[in-house]
Amino acid sequence: MRRSLFILLMVLLAGSATAGLTSLLARRVWAQYLAQPGDDLAWLRREFRLSEAELGAIRVLHAGYLPRCRDYCQRIGQRQGELWALLESGGQAAQVIEAKLIAIGTLRAQCQAAMLQHFLEVSQAMPPGQGQRYLAEMRRLTLGFHERFEQEMAADPASPHAHP
């Protein structure tokens, strides 16, 4: 019985190792085969089953949006640099720092608004059902980030940031 148990254990181990190693290899090879590193929109085509015509329309929107996105990122980064310089220099009036924070917040809001507008336009270039799904997913992924901690600002006694 001991010998049989040993044989069965070995069979189990060898089988698991074979399946595990093969699956790792297959996962890597298959992911590389499917990947299209140069194309930012490969996910849209695949996930939302877009036709070439739909993808072509979205490519135009995407190309038009990217310079605006880059511009917002540069401006926000620049204002952030100025804010840190003000904070590190010390002795600045609170009003100056507040004004800088407001400027950054305004830029961030404008960036988000432009982003949402772009997502809306892209969703309208998709078939209706897929467009709704895309919009919901993009809102969740891009605004959910803020919403998660902003919800804690609401009166939630369970939140670690709750105010008495």
């Binding site: 093969t22 890597r28 499917l34 891009t142």
Partner: protein, 108 residues
């Protein structure tokens, strides 16, 4: 009562038969096998049944054809799982690439 003495011919015949069928040496491990069998037979019915089942199962995997078929099955299972996981991985990477392009404010 004393046992009857066999006739001389019977004694000769017995000696002749013994000489014609010499006793062979026991095969190696015979004693261990006998003890194992005795040990097994003295166990409970459930133990014996389980041991028999495990022995039969182990013997199955020792057959080259079945062992090869099992190995091929494991490779196929691995490939199937890998393809499903690779599909998800490729989709996740592509999604991250898209999000990185369109949004600096992303939760993954």
């Amino acid at each position: 009562m004393s046992k009857p003495v066999p006739p001389m011919e019977d004694l000769k015949l017995s000696a002749l038969l013994r000489a014609a069928r010499p006793e062979r040496a026991l095969p190696p491990g015979f004693n261990e096998a006998v003890w194992r069998r005795l040990e097994r037979d003295s166990g409970t019915g459930f133990d014996t049944g389980l041991a028999d089942f495990l022995d039969r199962l182990a013997a199955l995997f020792l057959r080259p054809r079945l062992a090869a078929a099992g190995a091929v099955a494991m490779v196929l299972v691995g490939i199937a799982v890998g393809v499903v996981q690779g599909d998800r991985l490729a989709s996740d990477l592509a999604r991250q690439q898209y999000l990185a392009a369109v949004s600096p404010m992303t939760s993954r």
